[in-house]
């Protein structure tokens, strides 16, 4: 959008008249006039046209009205991509708004539609910056400002942030946003810390603390109230119990119970004493009766014992007599048996000597016969020995050296082999006779058999019957066979050494020698049989026997008979000894029986003396027994009487332990009651103290009060919590929206701003933090300076440049917007303004810039389209 003309009527100082500013150009337009010429009025009118609905009469509209009243009329011609339009608004009576297409003269929109059309021009979409960018004297926003705000202006403006970022936020809703945020923060600050915790000393924290205090207090009071109620309940119960105990009826009853129990106990005790005496007497009598009973029993036992001793004594004497008789009989029998035994032994000895003599004679005879036989065998052996010696001498003659025969045989074989070889080399002759040839041919006189081959040496003669003598000559030198000759020589020597003519003879000699050897062996065996231990030993034995040659004993009799006699004697002796052995023990046992009988008799006698002592004199015995029996009977009677008495006593007896227990119980009931009453009184007194104290403090009322207060405090805390949550939520929503807008616009604006800064401040460079978009450093003449120390002029210039950046941004988006400056550069010196406008001219050929200024001199040099105000009256 670009503005082409502005007309106003009945606005502020122009009461009842109008002015028109026509022919705005595309680039820089300057309306330069002295103060009070209507520059600001034009500026405000233009602003109202775009931002104040025609229907309303807010302060901004009211200010447009002249003092004399009237209906302000504002009109502007604009160019947009869609064409040329005229915007008209009239406020107060006859209020209207219209949009007319200048090309066709057609009314495009009216009233609200017209407002929407205008809004569409200044609003780049839903959340974009306004399509018009305004800068006014030293301030950067158009909003209404309070007095205090103006005062704080310097402070607010002191930061570069406000002059740059504030602009961006102005078009993104920022100032009000900042105010809302500040209000939010102001409301939150007393409540919570920056981290969202309840702030110490703040109302929220105090409410929480109060609530906690009340909760604790309520707990404490509740516990006290419970304690108090318990105390009341307990006291009521205990007082009730005390009343029960203290009732006079029950007290008397307890007393009477004690008295009754005491009486019973006393009676039981006296009964018990009587019984004890009776029982003691009874015991005494029983003891006496027992003594007498025992005496009588002993006496009677002694009587019985005396009788038994008497009987036994008779028996013992009889046994003694029998034992003595038996002993005497045994002595006689032993004597007789001893005699027989001695006789039998003597007879046996005689028989044994007789037999020995007979046997000695027999042995002497046998020894003589044996010697004779041995002498014959020795003679035989010695004869055989002589034969053996002769045989051995014969054998020595016959025997050939060992291996000589085998040697001879070997030489014979060699000779035969040598001869065979010689024969093979020798010419030979053989004749196959015809079948019918009768006569045989002979060689050197020896007939030749059919087929027989025969050799010859040198010359031989065949005599063929019927034919003649045929001489055969070999005609070869006579060869001498040395090997054969040597063999034959050896044979000859061997034969000579052996003393035989030929091998056959040698073999014969060998066989003879063998036969002789066997003969000798036979002789040797014979000698060995005759004298197994050798001849010398045989000879020695013969010598020994000869020397020991027994003298012949003279003894007659048959040894068999003698043996039988001995056996009979031995048998007699055995029988006699057995008889003796049988009778000997009889004597011992008889003597033992005798001693036992005597001992028994002595024992009985001693016992009889003791029993007699007990019994006393024989004649007084009966009397004494009767006396004892009577005494016993008397005592028995007395005892039974007394027992009956005691039994009767026992039956009527009161049980003393239960009487005592009854008494104790009655007493303890009484005591317990007394003690309990005392304890109850004590407890009640203690409870009274507690109750009265709590009563005086009206603790229950306090508790209820605290509970109610605690509920109220809880509600208060909850209200604070909700308040804080809402405020924090609002803060978060605002921050989010703002940072969103910042991302959307501020960064691109900074991008646009940076080259403009370069144009204007060639001696100064400002760097911005990319993230916070705050100016970081200012470098002037190579010196780093404090960001806070920007001059007012520089801030203004930054402010203008920022808008310019916006304008460029919008233009780039296809939504060009004019930048309107109303004495925006009051602090800047003329040179700076000039250089700035140079920059503007160069950079904004398509950018419409409208400048209202009173600094005619400064702006005269700036060039651009110079605007003029002319009188105007609406048609």
């Amino acid at each position: 959008m670009k503005i082409r003309a502005l007309r106003l009527f009945n606005v502020k100082r122009f009461a009842g008249r109008g002015v028109a500013i026509e022919d705005f150009s595309d680039g820089v337009n300057v309306l330069c006039a002295a103060n009070e010429h209507g520059k600001s009025t034009s500026f405000e009118a233009l602003h109202a046209l775009f931002f104040q609905p025609h229907t309303g009469t807010p302060g901004d509209v009211q200010r447009l009205r002249p003092y004399s009243g009237g209906n302000p009329l504002i009109e502007a011609d604009i160019v947009t991509a869609d064409g040329h339009f005229r915007l008209t608004k009239q406020y107060y009576s006859g209020r209207r708004a219209s949009v007319t297409d200048l090309a066709t003269g057609r009314l495009v929109a009216q009233a609200d539609e017209a407002e929407r059309f205008i809004a569409g021009l200044i609003r780049g979409g839903n959340s974009g910056p306004a399509g018009l960018l305004w800068v006014r004297q030293g301030i950067t926003g158009i909003e209404k400002r309070s007095k205090s705000e103006e005062d704080g202006d310097k402070l607010v403006r002191a930061s570069l942030l406000e002059s740059v970022q504030g602009e961006v936020e102005a078009v993104t809703g920022g100032r009000r946003m900042a105010e809302v945020l500040a209000a939010c923060a102001e409301e939150l600050a007393p409540l919570v810390t920056s981290t969202g915790r309840p702030k110490t000393g703040g109302r929220y924290a105090a409410a929480i603390a109060e609530h906690e205090r009340l909760v604790a207090e309520e707990q404490r009071l509740k516990a006290d109230v419970i304690k108090l109620r318990e105390a009341l309940d307990r006291r009521a119960a205990q007082m009730k119990r005390l009343a029960e105990i203290e009732q006079s009826d029950s007290r008397d009853e307890r007393r009477n119970a004690v008295l009754r129990a005491q009486a019973v106990f006393d009676k039981a005790k006296s009964q018990s004493d009587v019984l004890k005496t009776a029982e003691a007497q009874l015991g005494l009598v029983r003891q006496q009766r027992d003594i007498i009973g025992r005496d009588l029993a002993a006496f009677r036992e002694a009587l019985g014992e005396a009788e038994r001793i008497r009987t036994e004594r008779v028996d013992v004497d009889a046994r003694r007599r029998t034992a003595a008789e038996q002993r005497d009989a045994a002595i006689a029998a032993i004597e007789k048996a001893t005699l027989e035994s001695d006789a039998a032994e003597r007879a046996e000895k005689t028989a044994r000597e007789h037999l020995a003599r007979i046997e000695a004679a027999s042995r002497a005879r046998e020894a003589a016969e044996r010697l004779h036989e041995l002498e014959q065998r020795l003679a035989d052996a010695e004869a055989t020995r002589a034969d053996l010696e002769r045989g051995e001498a014969d054998l020595a003659l016959l025997d050939l050296p060992k291996g000589a025969v085998d040697e001879l045989q070997k030489i014979e074989i060699d000779i035969a082999r040598f001869r065979a070889v010689e024969d093979a080399a020798r010419p030979s002759v053989a004749i196959r006779y015809e079948a019918d040839a009768g006569e045989r041919v002979s060689l050197d006189g020896q007939p030749l058999a059919d087929g027989e081959e025969r050799g010859y040496e040198g010359q031989a003669q065949l005599s063929v019957p019927g034919i003649g003598l045929i001489t055969l000559r070999s005609n070869r030198p006579q060869s001498v066979n040395t090997k054969l000759a040597a063999a034959e020589a050896s044979r000859g020597k061997l034969l000579a050494s052996m003393g035989v003519a030929s091998l056959a003879e040698a073999r014969q000699r060998q066989v003879d020698a063998q036969r002789k050897r066997e003969q000798i062996e036979g002789l040797r065996n014979r000698i060995r049989a005759l004298a197994p231990d050798g001849l010398p030993l045989l000879r020695e034995e013969i010598m020994r026997r000869r020397e020991a040659g027994l003298a012949a004993v003279d003894a007659e009799g048959d040894p068999e008979q003698a043996k039988a006699a001995l056996t009979a004697a031995e048998h007699r002796r055995e029988v006699a000894r057995d008889a003796l052995r049988q009778v000997q023990p009889l004597r011992g046992s008889a003597e033992e029986a005798l001693i036992a009988a005597r001992t028994a008799a002595a024992g009985l006698d001693a016992h009889a003396i003791h029993v007699d002592a007990v019994l006393g004199l024989e004649e007084a015995r009966k009397e004494r027994e009767d006396a004892l029996a009577k005494g016993l009977a008397d005592l028995e009677t007395r005892l039974s009487e007394m027992e009956q008495g005691v039994t009767a006593l026992r039956a009527s007896l009161i049980d003393l332990p239960s009487a005592e227990a009854g008494l104790q119980r009655a007493r303890s009931v009484e005591e317990t009651a007394t003690r309990e009453a005392g304890a109850l009184r004590e407890t009640i007194a203690g409870l009274n103290g507690l109750i009265v104290r709590n009563q005086d403090e009206a603790i229950e009322e306090q508790w209820r009060e605290t509970a109610e207060a605690r509920e109220a405090a809880a509600r208060r805390v909850e209200a604070f919590r909700a308040e804080v949550a809402a405020l924090q939520r609002l803060q978060a929503a605002l921050e989010t929206a703002r940072s969103g807008a910042r991302d959307l616009y501020l960064k691109p604006v900074m991008t646009e701003l940076r080259p403009l800064l370069g144009l204007l401040f060639n001696d100064v460079s400002i760097t911005f933090d990319e993230k916070t978009l705050l100016p970081q450093t200012i470098l002037r003449n190579g010196q780093e300076e404090d960001v806070e120390r920007l001059s007012g002029g520089m801030r203004e210039q930054l402010s203008v440049l920022t808008r310019l950046s916006f304008a460029r941004l919008l233009a780039r988006d296809g939504r060009p917007a004019p930048v309107i400056l109303d004495d925006a550069l009051v602090y800047s010196d003329d040179d700076r303004i000039e250089s700035m406008f140079d920059a503007l001219h160069r950079q904004s050929r398509d950018q419409q810039i409208i400048v209202f200024s009173c600094r005619q001199r400064a702006f005269l040099k700036l060039g651009g389209t110079s605007l003029r105000m002319t009188d105007w009256v609406p048609a």
């Binding site: 809004a119 609003r123 839903n126 959340s127 974009g128 936020e169 078009v171 993104t172 809703g173 920022g174 009000r176 946003m177 105010e179 809302v180 209000a183 939010c184 108090l228 109620r229 009341l232 309940d233 006291r235 009521a236 007082m239 109750i691 009265v692 709590n694 009563q695 005086d696 403090e697 009206a698 603790i699 229950e700 009322e701 306090q702 209820r704 009060e705 605290t706 509970a707 109610e708 207060a709 605690r710 509920e711 109220a712 909700a722 308040e723 949550a725 809402a726 405020l727 939520r729 609002l730 929503a733 605002l734 989010t736 929206a737 703002r738 969103g740 807008a741």
Partner: protein
């Protein structure tokens, strides 16, 4: 003809810790003042007796001041007789209280501490059922059936507790038979415990408290003036308003487009009565953002007129239209934030608490922007 005042639940000594400032003291004082007002009505209407059907004292252990000053006030109105029945708050278990009352009570104060027929006047007998403990767990009026009185005697029952569900304590195991009057031949059964006046049947009444202490009942505190012509006659019961403070819950139902502030003004009592009024305005229906903030502001403005004024606007739904949001801003980051908050407040996927917070934040934003705009 016998005429008496039936009242109950004075709760003397109640401290009202849920309020702040001097209001608790005033409320407490007002309860004590009920005694004088009852006495004045009795004199005015020719009643000789005031029956207090229990809970005369708020606790079992009221401070000696409360007890003594109450007795002094009663004594002051002699020969008017006061019959004081132990209720559940001041049951006989509070032996200290009743012993104190016994020793200190003047002649014109009768303590109904026994289940015994009590002759009030010739031919008039009171049968009382004192609460033995806080929760007796049985019908204490049972004995009245067996209590014989001479022919033609007026039988007046005096009891404290719930008849079916008319109890201030929610758990009621010790229920008085609702037809006790008929069963026991009572001409009138004076009941206490329920803080609002209720007629159970023509012979059985709850008087309610003469001085309300909560918003629950939403009716003026009153006492009953009872006249009984003769035994067997239907008693004539008249309600006498005795309250010093009024406790009111006011329903403010708003519709879209309604002026919330004028609706509120119509609802609130006239200025003269506000000093003695405790009012809770319960706003419901629908309202625009502006109406809501205006209502809050009007409440805040009216609050100092009242003993207590509270707004419960939780049931009030907020309508939000684009014109409302335009007041915040037509566009820009503020509008973005407002839109986001509105969306969140209407987002059914979020919890109620979150939506409430978002709505409160939006309302706050709205009111801030409105302030800035002005």
């Amino acid at each position: 003809m016998f005429r008496f005042i039936h009242s109950s639940d004075l709760h003397l000594g109640k401290r009202f810790g849920n309020f702040s400032g001097d209001l608790p003291v005033r409320l407490r004082e007002a309860r004590h003042g009920a005694l004088a007002r009852l006495a004045a009505f009795a004199r005015e209407h020719g009643a000789s007796t005031v029956l207090l059907a229990g809970d005369t004292f708020d606790t079992e252990t009221p401070s000696p001041e409360i007890r003594r000053q109450a007795l002094a006030e009663m004594r002051h109105h002699a020969p008017l007789r006061w019959v004081v029945l132990p209720g559940n708050h001041d049951s006989l278990q509070a032996s200290e209280l009743w012993r104190g009352l016994q020793t200190e009570a003047p002649e014109n104060v009768i303590l109904a501490m026994d289940c015994q027929p009590l002759t009030l006047a010739p031919g008039v007998t009171v049968l009382s059922a004192p609460c033995t403990t806080r929760r007796p767990g049985r019908d204490l009026t049972e004995w009245m059936t067996g209590a014989a009185t001479p022919e033609g005697t007026l039988r007046i029952g005096l009891a404290h507790g719930a008849v079916q569900s008319f109890s201030e304590e929610t758990v009621a195991t010790d229920v008085i038979a609702p037809d006790r009057a008929r069963r026991s031949g009572l001409d009138y059964l004076a009941l206490g415990d329920w803080h609002g006046a209720v007629a159970v049947d023509p012979h059985t009444h709850y008087s309610g408290t003469p001085e309300p202490d909560r918003f629950k009942h939403n009716r003026p505190g009153a006492a009953l003036l009872v006249s009984v012509e003769a035994a067997g006659a239907v008693p004539e019961v008249q309600t006498l308003v005795t309250q010093s403070f009024s406790w009111r819950s006011l329903d403010l139902h708003l519709l879209d487009g309604m002026d919330s502030v004028s609706a509120l003004q119509e609802l609130l009592p006239e200025a003269r009565h506000r000093r003695q009024a405790l009012v809770r305005v319960i706003a419901s229906g629908r309202s625009r953002l502006a109406g809501r903030t205006a209502l809050a502001a009007a409440m805040a403005h009216a609050a100092p007129d009242f003993a207590y004024l509270d707004l419960d606007d939780a049931p009030l739904a907020t309508e939000c239209e684009s014109a409302d949001l335009d007041i915040i801003d037509r566009a820009g980051a503020l509008r973005e934030a407002a839109d986001a908050l509105l969306a969140e407040a209407d987002d059914p996927a979020r919890s109620t608490a979150e939506r409430e917070i978002a709505r409160a934040a939006l309302t706050r934003l709205f009111s801030h922007c409105e302030t800035i705009n002005q």
